[in-house]
């Protein structure tokens, strides 16, 4: 088993309560942090090599160093807890089980950034987690970890938890900021980036829940020590939410660099494929990243074992690789219909597109309609080509990455499973079960 930095105390009864959290070393990182200057903390995080856990993998310390400290404007830290990507459910679990870990990370990070007002923007559907966080925040205020003159240091921090309305797009950092300001959650056109002009047009850092929580162990052990865990430019541990046709779905904290094969088949992790079936495909980092067939997820094109790391998963580019993304690991066995799965993903992106830019607004809807037609047995070979060109026309031409996220699953499914699509349109009768499933949902979804 690999190191447990975030989930170490997850099994402890009552860890969501401050006294228990403190008994297990909680808030010691905060006290340590207060002995450093804000810039020293930023340096620790840079040294740790931590990369954003929200999907894009941007180095967290570097992002922090971009924040505009010169203008003298107020600065904000916003925690992105909007987790809504299909297949990703790690942040929810972390906040639910150990809310103080996030709060401690928020205080340290806010201090490092010189923010006196910070927010946790949580997905609306996670209302019960919101209540858990509110309770923990109240405890932290009570204990003097939040509010004015924290622990006598003279540093003030107000922390608010804010629920969204349940839109995936509000996880995109600038849409999140708009939503937090009380507006419609439309992504902004960049530049300017939030580090210069974010919330209320002031310098803002948006970080994922897991990124912020990881600051706690980094301060506890020191950035350099943290950087010894992992492989290459993939430092530390990562929460992976594994689901699909595996024996043991759930949240696993892995050391980056773990072989994918071990992760899928070892009893310490997923425990292999359910019912002893064969592995067919994996979506390794949440629904947006390219799907890979079994042979390419276990080994790279060059025949090297594929590892759970930013670099190894991306090896081969989009032709034969994928991305670590947010860590939503979706495993599909041989009984899975790639076509049906793609319809499901595409339906999601259509539903969640904010509709600002034409390629994403029209393209996601169009692709869903074509897949709908294919699933109903009315597809043609031309439809497969049409899907291919439509995704190409969306990819890279939109305001925010949701357009790309909608295009990549289509591109990769056709790239690696074209034969299955062709078989589907030529012999739809073979896929009756799919049609049955589809008929059940369609009345509700496609009015």
């Amino acid at each position: 088993m690999s190191k447990k930095l975030l989930t170490e105390h997850f099994g402890v009864q009552g860890i969501d309560q401050l006294p228990v959290y403190k008994q297990h070393g909680g808030y010691s990182a905060l006290e340590k942090a207060f002995k450093k200057t804000p810039d020293e903390i930023v340096q620790e995080v840079i040294a740790s090599g931590l990369r954003g856990r929200g999907g894009a993998g941007f180095p967290t310390g570097k992002k922090w160093s971009f924040i505009d400290k010169k203008s003298g404007k107020p600065r904000y830290l916003v925690c992105n807890a909007d987790e809504s990507e299909p297949g990703t459910f790690k942040d929810r679990y972390l906040m639910e089980v150990n809310p103080h870990l996030l709060i401690e990370g928020m205080i340290i990070s806010s201090f490092a950034l010189g923010a006196n007002l910070s927010f946790i923007y949580i997905r609306g559907e996670l209302l019960y987690v919101y209540h858990i966080l509110e309770k923990a925040i109240a405890e932290a205020y009570e204990a003097g970890y939040l509010g004015k003159n924290i622990l006598g240091t003279g540093y003030d921090l107000e922390l608010y938890c804010h629920t969204g309305g349940g839109a995936y797009i509000c996880g995109e950092e600038t849409a999140l900021i708009e939503s937090l300001e009380g507006k419609r959650g439309n992504p902004r056109i960049k530049p300017p980036f939030p580090a210069i002009s974010g919330l209320y047009n002031n310098p803002t850092v948006v970080n994922n829940v897991e990124s912020i929580a990881t600051v706690v162990p980094i301060i506890n052990m020191g950035g350099e020590e943290y950087a010894k865990i992992g492989i290459g430019n993939s430092k530390g541990t990562k929460l992976i939410s594994a689901c699909g046709h595996i024996k043991k779905p759930g949240i696993y904290e892995i050391e980056l660099g773990l072989p994918v094969e071990e992760f899928i088949y070892s009893d310490s992790y997923c425990g292999g494929i359910r019912g002893g079936r064969k592995l067919k495909a994996v979506v390794a980092g949440g629904s947006s990243v390219p799907i890979l067939p079994a042979e390419l997820i276990l080994k790279t094109e060059k025949g090297e074992p594929r590892l759970m790391s930013y670099e190894s998963l991306a090896e081969g580019g989009f032709a034969s690789g994928t991305m670590l993304g947010s860590g939503g690991f979706i495993v599909m066995d041989e009984t899975t219909s790639i076509v049906k799965n793609l319809f499901n993903f595409t339906r999601f992106y259509h539903h969640e597109s904010c509709g600002q830019c034409s390629p994403c607004r029209e393209g996601t809807a169009w692709m869903e309609k074509i897949l709908h037609r294919i699933l109903h047995g009315h597809g043609t070979l031309k439809d497969v080509d049409l899907l291919w060109t439509l995704q190409k026309n969306i990819d890279g031409k939109t305001i925010c990455p949701l357009g790309d996220a909608a295009a990549w699953p289509v591109a990769s499914a056709i790239r690696h499973f074209r034969a299955e699509f062709e078989d589907f349109v030529e012999h739809p009768e073979k896929y009756q079960d799919v049609k049955h499933y589809f008929n059940q949902i369609e009345d509700k979804q496609l009015a």
């Binding site: 839109a167 797009i169 419609r184 056109i189 259509h350 539903h351 969640e352 597109s353 904010c354 509709g355 600002q356 830019c357 034409s358 390629p359 607004r361 029209e362 393209g363 996601t364 809807a365 169009w366 309609k369 049409l386 060109t389 190409k392 026309n393 890279g396 031409k397 939109t398 305001i399």
Partner: protein
């Protein structure tokens, strides 16, 4: 003053100039089409993606290309920047894709649309689109909505360029106009369909690139190409009072702002001038208005527009909900 090169033509522009503005300074031959950007409306642009270009060299300091196409209306010029627009086959293809998306749900019922003849979407599809549509599904339809006594909204023709939203935000005092829903079913709305009652609301009609927002006092009075545009002005206490009058015979059928070469209003006008002053006596006549590229009586331009090859006949269905 950064120097930027677009399609091989170099120009020096003031700091903060966008690629689109620089292209317009060079000339039409390098200028990408822009369906949502509007110079006088802050934060407009970025939505339609028709103005995308390829930045093959970011700047002198950073000579790398930008990997993805950028919206030229929202990207600033840098010293030494090199941009490809019509010289990039990739961009021409990509733009075709964007036009196809814009038209995917568009009725293209130009023969019964009041905007025909001065519609930027017609021009766009003619100049930058392909001559066939691959969209075979039912197109979305909306009921027409009256926005007060003067303006009608027909969402079916809207391309969600957000210009009218910016007008409501920036020109009128109370915003009662915005976007409802999301994705493909987004719609422009006043939410409770109450009247938009504001001195400058009529400018929405002028900024709308398509036939989604139209002048109710003019609707179906005449095809625009049967009217004569005349420049005129009056002393107005609310606005500049500089307008174009559209005559048929001796009657002023409508009043609009004056449009520049790019189809943008030179100065916004008030509702009094637009809707209430329809007598020649109200105005000092200056003479015939010059016809902008995107307007009306570039007559043979229009004739090409309705070539049957462009619109499949069965696309042109009258709407039941009229």
């Amino acid at each position: 003053m950064p120097k930027v090169t677009i399609d091989g033509k170099t120009i020096e522009v003031p700091q903060g100039t966008t690629i689109l503005q620089a292209a317009r300074m060079i000339g039409e031959e390098v200028t990408p089409p822009a369906m949502c950007y509007y110079t006088s409306l802050k934060t407009s642009g970025g939505y339609c993606r028709t103005c995308i270009v390829k930045v093959s060299k970011m700047s002198e300091a950073n000579p790398n290309p930008i990997p993805k196409p950028v919206a030229s209306c929202r990207t600033n010029c840098e010293e030494g920047m090199e941009v490809m627009n019509y010289t990039s086959p990739e961009i021409i293809e990509a733009r075709k894709g964007v036009v196809e998306f814009l038209l995917a749900n568009h009725p293209l019922d130009c023969p019964i649309c009041d905007q025909a003849g001065e519609c930027h979407l017609q021009d766009l599809s003619y100049e930058h689109g392909s001559d066939d549509t691959r969209y075979e599904f039912e197109r979305r339809k909306f009921k027409k909505i009256d926005l007060g006594p003067f303006i009608q909204l027909h969402m079916t023709r809207c391309i969600l360029c957000y210009r009218c939203v910016k007008v409501a935000d920036q020109l009128t005092d109370h915003r009662v106009h915005g976007v409802l829903n999301r994705g493909e079913v987004s719609e422009i709305s006043t939410y409770i369909t109450t009247a938009i009652d504001n001195d400058f609301s009529g400018n929405m009609i002028d900024v709308c690139p398509v036939g989604a927002l139209t002048d109710k006092t003019f609707r179906f009075k005449s095809r625009v190409w049967f009217t004569n545009p005349v420049s005129a002005h009056r002393d107005c206490e609310k606005c500049c009072g500089k307008v174009t009058l559209w005559y048929k015979g001796d009657d002023v059928l409508r009043v609009t702002a004056r449009k520049d070469k790019w189809g943008e209003a030179e100065e916004f006008i008030c509702n009094d001038c637009r809707f209430e002053k329809k007598q020649t006596l109200d105005w000092t006549i200056e003479g015939p208005a010059k016809i902008s590229r995107h307007s009306v009586i570039s007559a043979n331009h229009y004739e090409k527009m309705v070539e049957p090859s462009l619109f499949k006949l069965n696309d042109i269905k009258p709407f039941e909900d009229q």
